[in-house]
């Protein structure tokens, strides 16, 4: 039997498809008994689908550093 904290971590791993088969099995088993965790898992999955849908982009840290440098030169 795993704790809720562990279940949450596995759930997060599963969002990035990085949970192992055994972990997923443990999570499923836990979700059968724990109402709170199954609610949280649902929310978490929803967040993942939102992030996918939004088609997010971001700048890399290097790009940001370069921008900062250029801005500072101007100052």
């Amino acid at each position: 039997m795993i704790s809720c904290e562990k279940a949450a971590i596995i759930c997060n791993k599963a969002q990035y498809r990085e949970a192992t088969f055994i972990e997923k099995l443990k999570l499923r088993f836990h979700l059968l008994m724990c109402k709170t965790c199954s609610k949280a898992t649902k929310k978490n999955t929803q967040l993942t689908s939102l992030c996918d849908k939004a088609n997010l982009h971001s700048l890399t840290e290097n790009d940001k550093l370069k921008m900062k440098e250029i801005l500072q030169e101007k100052d």
Binding site: Y16, N44, L47, C51, K53, A54, L56, L71, D75
Partner: protein
């Protein structure tokens, strides 16, 4: 579904009206004025502006340059900033001009500006012209595209409210899709540490989105 969308968009408008009236109240008091802090711009707004730009220009290199130019222009005209708009709104306004300028520039050649219109690709096609041209009222494509862009900006807004380290880990993992191992090497943390940070970031994001999106 259409009705639901309609209700949701109306709710958003209501929210906007509400928030506008609040800022209006604040504007009467001089102490509520906004101030520019250019040293924080890149950390706070770079991703937000970049997402805005990429929604309008799909070339990421050009979008990046425009964000950079926006910051420069902002710095240059900082003394003209009156302080009635929030910093980010002001920067977005500059970026909007930059995007328009960009399209003006690439269309400045006379030949490029000329638009040729044909009824359709197969010009010998027969049939009821008008009926074929009418937009499909059941298409949710345009609406959902607009909504997705707003969603992206909302998520970006929420990410910028996270603690810096968590925001960094979350963007690297979720948006840039870097593997766990690489992130751990780069930031010098161990995997369980990383998962805890991801967990906190996701919990905070869900709270934030529940307030601002749903």
């Amino acid at each position: 579904m259409a009705a639901l969308n309609y209700i949701r968009s109306n709710e958003k408008k209501l929210k906007v009206i509400k928030s506008n009236s609040i800022t209006f109240d604040n504007d009467t008091k001089p102490m509520a004025q906004h101030q520019l802090q250019p040293e924080n711009w890149v950390d706070l707004y770079a991703d937000y502006l970049f997402n805005y730009a990429i929604g309008r220009i799909s070339d990421s290199e050009v979008a990046k340059d425009l964000v950079q130019e926006t910051f420069m222009a902002g710095l240059k005209s900082a003394k003209n900033y009156k302080g009635d708009a929030a910093e980010r709104t002001w920067l977005i306004a500059i970026l909007k001009r930059k995007v328009i300028d960009y399209y003006r520039k690439i269309n400045s050649n006379k030949g490029k500006a000329e638009v040729r219109m044909n009824y359709s690709a197969q010009s010998d096609a027969e049939g009821d012209w008008l009926e074929e041209q009418v937009a499909d009222p059941f298409s949710s494509f345009e609406n959902s595209n607009i909504e997705n862009e707003e969603l992206g900006l909302a998520i970006q807004d929420c990410i910028s409210k996270l603690p810096k380290k968590q925001a960094l880990v979350f963007t690297m993992k979720t948006i840039q899709g870097i593997s766990t191992e690489d992130i751990c090497n780069e930031l010098d943390i161990n995997p369980s540490n990383l998962w805890v940070m991801i967990h906190r970031a996701r919990t905070a994001l869900m709270d934030c989105l529940n307030q601002n999106w749903f």
